[in-house]
């Protein structure tokens, strides 16, 4: 942690002549209004991206975003201002704008404690520098060649590589001083295949809070290429998807987006404090079948959704959301925890210094159960087996959620039938997990490509689950 803090200080404070004592002065200035809490969040993000298309390296881009966001909180009120200058006059100016939500009060003196010592879940080195440019470009070319070598029907391959290095430091009026240095890499492959008049796509990818070597190791990136082609070829054979309510078996891993949409968002503290979530006031009640235990775990080393500390300096943790079907807890940031008389859970996250933090998921998944995946499929007479999904969406108030299958098969008489075209599945969050009648013993987490949007802010997240049987879910195909 000391190394992390030293990197953050050298990146964020020293170039503008700032020291932690200056952050105390800025917090004093904020707290001279009648506030309950205030914080200063300094951040610098370096991001590099490369795109291969048509067999050539078509685009490359580099960006640096840096600045500080200042937040003032009084009761349920929040004042916020940010600056892209990490210098004292700009910080004072932003502090004065943010604190106008409250009347002037007494002089206060904030003393920061030594930096939070959290378990480091990833290396601090910049992933942008973890491979040289020639090796990055070579990786893209090898992925392209691998995809094209799979099948002559591959017409187009697009490969994108993104590496980001995010350095943050947060100081708060409760004395919190914390820093984090977060690597994030991701590689995506999208292919178009053609056979006669028919054209389909397939995509795959993966990533981690890690160096770019993660993508090279174990031939992961080449595996994404093979997987994208496999999916596209399956879709070439797909028939119209069924329409109506039926049993649905969800495969392990990425289909955990079900949990993210159906229950995850509804268990974020802000919606429950405001009483706008369909899960509000339901702690202690059964909201799922007894087979279901769902956690949000920010502590998994190197995972895309993991954080050593959250964006308010709270160490991340594994929070039990649903235990054996009973609703246990919400995900909290500091403000909502304070207003609800609960403890922060390390879920205070923000897209950047220019955005306000709020309760957000990290890695959300369901623990393994007792069933063999094969027996789950065999238990269904007529239904759908869905193994890959695009994105999802939820209305947390009505509880209605959707997620869109990109690879699915009919189940007929307990056996897998033909693949079906992509279809949206729709359900009701507070009901869907009560209909889970079988949980597989094959828990898997996703490959590391998830992004979650809330109130216009995007953050990286993870999902996971074992194979699940949902007794009834509405499948939005065209074949009525």
């Amino acid at each position: 942690m000391t190394e992390t803090f030293d990197i953050a200080r050298a990146t964020l404070l020293e170039p503008g002549g700032l020291a932690t004592a200056d952050l105390e002065r800025v917090l004093d200035r904020l707290m001279s209004s009648r506030l309950d809490a205030a914080d200063v969040y300094c951040e610098s993000t370096r991001l590099e991206s490369w795109v291969l298309e048509d067999g050539i390296i078509r685009e490359g881009a580099f960006s640096i975003e840096q600045g500080a966001g200042l937040r003032a909180m009084a009761g349920e009120k929040t004042g916020f201002a940010f600056t892209d200058e990490l210098q004292l006059p700009a910080l004072f100016e932003a502090a004065d704008a943010a604190r106008t939500i409250a009347r002037a009060g007494q002089e206060r003196s904030v003393a920061l404690r030594p930096a939070v010592a959290a378990t480091a879940l990833y290396a601090t080195a910049s992933p942008l520098l973890s491979l040289d440019e020639a090796a990055k470009v070579d990786l893209l070319r090898r992925v392209d060649a691998e995809a094209r070598a799979q099948d002559a029907r591959v017409r187009q391959v697009i490969v994108s590589l993104v590496a980001a290095h995010d350095v943050m430091l947060v100081a708060a009026s409760d004395g919190t001083l914390a820093a984090d240095v977060r690597p994030l890499v991701r590689l995506n492959v999208n292919v178009i295949v053609e056979a006669g008049e028919r054209r389909e796509q397939g995509s795959s990818g993966g990533g981690a809070r890690s160096a770019l070597a993660f993508l090279v190791d174990e031939d992961r990136a080449l595996g994404y290429a093979r997987e994208a082609v496999r999916q596209a070829l399956v879709n070439l054979e797909a028939i119209d998807a069924p329409a109506g309510s039926m049993p649905v078996v969800l495969g392990p891993g990425w289909p955990g987006v079900l949990l993210h949409e159906a229950v995850g968002h509804g268990l974020e503290g802000d919606f429950n404090r405001k009483g706008t979530s369909a899960f509000a006031g339901r702690i202690g009640q059964a909201v799922a079948s007894p087979l279901c235990t769902v956690v949000d775990d920010g502590t998994l080393p190197g995972r895309r959704g993991s954080l050593s500390v959250d964006d308010e300096g709270t160490p991340s943790q594994c929070t039990v959301l649903i235990e054996n079907g009973v609703l246990k807890g919400y995900m909290q940031d500091k403000m909502n925890a304070r207003l609800m008389g609960a403890a922060p859970t390390g879920n205070g996250r923000r897209e950047s210094y220019a955005h306000l933090p709020m309760p957000r998921m990290t890695n959300t998944y369901m623990l393994a159960g007792p069933h063999q995946p094969e027996e789950i499929i065999a238990s269904v007479d007529r239904g759908l087996y869905a193994v890959n999904f695009g994105g999802g969406q939820v209305d947390i108030t009505s509880g209605k959620f959707v997620f869109s299958a990109s690879e699915a098969y009919l189940i007929e008489g307990g056996r897998l039938g033909p693949p079906v075209k992509g279809a949206t599945l729709i359900g009701n969050g507070p009901e869907v997990l009560t209909r889970v009648s079988m949980v597989g013993n094959d828990l898997r987490l996703d490959a590391g490509v998830g992004s979650c949007g809330k109130e216009g802010q995007t953050v990286p997240v993870g999902v996971g689950q074992p194979t699940l049987r949902v007794d009834e879910l509405t499948v939005g195909g065209t074949h009525a």
Partner: protein, 444 residues
């Protein structure tokens, strides 16, 4: 705050510096964009201030070309040091990208020469306190509209103004100031069946063009209350009326499938569709990038190419694609001045208002909300979550939810039976409601 002319001059200088630095570092050609924006966003919830956010966003981006290789870089820092470092980063990237015969600036003779004033800059100088008053009036109107409104996500007033400048090594250098103001409100209603939420909003270049706070609030409340007691539907095929506020998403699907990258990647169900009848003959879809006060108006596109009005669809026939110069070269045709996207798209209104469309439909589904991303532009396959109303004998019968609507976009476009004259949703895509002959509805 310096006035717009002064800020414009300052940003033009930054673009000039970027282009000069690119030349100094050996680039054969370059293009750069710089923006500076400031704003205020205030949310009132249950009558009390919830957030007051002051925003100040700066950004600069440069693309350099070495022969037919390119590299790009951007930053939020507009200082001279950042200009030098950003150009260096872009030049370094360009050492590793490939020769691409189609890459490069748009052709010099396409650069906009006249820059009409499109009346896009109407800053709203209101204090945080005044903004709170507007948002509170909006939320009060929503909460007071119906006793079944029991909770609120609040009302937000958002006002932004900024300056944007673009230049390239053809000698093109131009920019303009813009403003944008939005007012939105989301409220929650409750009855014995549970809670429902809905929202409404207004957005405009000038504050006086916004709907009144009371009108926005009332509409949000009416939409929420109308959803109370929603039921599911049995699975069936039926006509579907996409209400104006969701019909715009069908225009986006059309645009997505005729954009350059979708075409040259062969990732579109509308490959080679130029000249084809995609819609019935009554359909005309018009793009007007020069519309005064238009939400996405601009006298030049993101490459400096002069923009001009055109029909994207006329007599039901697709007239052209949505291309920048790179896509145009890939496809062996000319840019349509759409670098950065489509600007202000309008579908011609038909004769029927909303009640008239309901009568025309007879029995079927009105969709007022779509959920999820179930649109496959490679195949046109369409499957999305929906909420709205079941219609019997030309009248709204009851609200419905937790259903999907599915079909194929080609069939939906071809089966467009009517476009209404009820275009009342804000945004740069304007259309009345779309009546689609038949889709699959999945439910119970």
């Amino acid at each position: 705050m310096p006035d717009a002319a002064e800020r414009l001059a300052r940003l033009e200088q930054v673009v000039d510096d970027l282009l000069a630095e690119a030349r100094r570092q050996g680039a054969d050609a370059a293009e750069a964009g710089v923006s500076s924006d400031q704003g205020l966003s205030v949310t009132v919830r249950l009558g009390e201030v919830e957030t007051v956010e002051h925003t100040r966003d700066n950004g600069l981006g440069i693309t350099v070309y070495f022969g037919r290789r390119k590299g790009s870089a951007s930053t939020s820092d507009l200082s001279p040091g950042a200009v030098r470092d950003t150009v260096r980063a872009a030049c370094n990237i360009a050492r590793y990208t490939s020769e691409d015969p189609c890459t490069g600036l748009a052709d010099a003779d396409l650069m906009a020469r006249v820059l009409p004033d499109l009346d896009l800059h109407h800053p709203w100088t209101l204090s945080a306190g005044e903004a709170v008053d507007v948002a509170r009036a909006c939320e009060d109107a929503a909460r007071g509209r119906d006793p079944r409104i029991t909770n609120s996500e609040g009302a937000t007033l958002d006002t932004h103004q900024g300056v944007f400048v673009y230049g390239n090594s053809h000698g093109f250098l131009a920019g303009y100031p813009t403003s944008r103001h939005s007012l939105s409100c989301a409220v929650i209603g409750e009855d014995e069946a549970g809670m429902q939420r809905d929202y409404w909003y207004a957005t405009a270049r000038a504050a006086q063009d916004l709907d009144s706070p009371e009108a926005v609030g009332r509409r949000a409340a009416e939409r929420t209350v109308a959803r109370l007691g929603a039921r599911r539907l049995g699975t069936r095929k039926a006509p579907v009326l996409f209400r104006a506020e969701v019909a715009a998403s069908l225009m986006r699907s059309l645009v997505g499938a005729v954009r350059g990258p979708a075409l040259y990647r062969r990732a579109s169900f509308l490959l080679d569709a130029q000249g084809q009848s995609l819609f019935p003959a009554f359909v005309r879809i018009h793009e007007d990038p020069l519309k005064p006060r238009g939400l996405s108006s601009s006298p030049f596109d993101d490459e400096g190419v002069a923009t001009r009005p055109r029909d994207l669809v006329r007599d039901g026939v697709l007239q052209g694609y949505v291309l920048d110069s790179y896509a145009a070269r890939r496809l062996g045709t000319a840019t349509t001045g759409n670098a950065g996207g489509v600007r202000n798209l309008t579908v011609d209104s038909g004769p029927l208002d909303f009640p008239g469309l309901l009568r025309e439909m007879g029995t079927g589904l009105v969709v007022t909300e779509l959920m999820g991303q179930g649109v496959n532009l490679v195949t046109g396959d369409y499957s999305r979550g929906a909420a709205g109303f079941w219609v019997e004998n030309g009248e709204l019968a009851y609200p419905v939810e937790e259903i999907t609507v599915a079909g194929n976009l080609r069939d939906m476009f071809r089966g467009l039976a009517a476009v209404g004259c009820d275009a009342d949703a804000p945004g740069s895509f304007r259309t009345g409601s779309w009546l689609v002959e038949s889709m699959t509805i999945a439910g119970e």
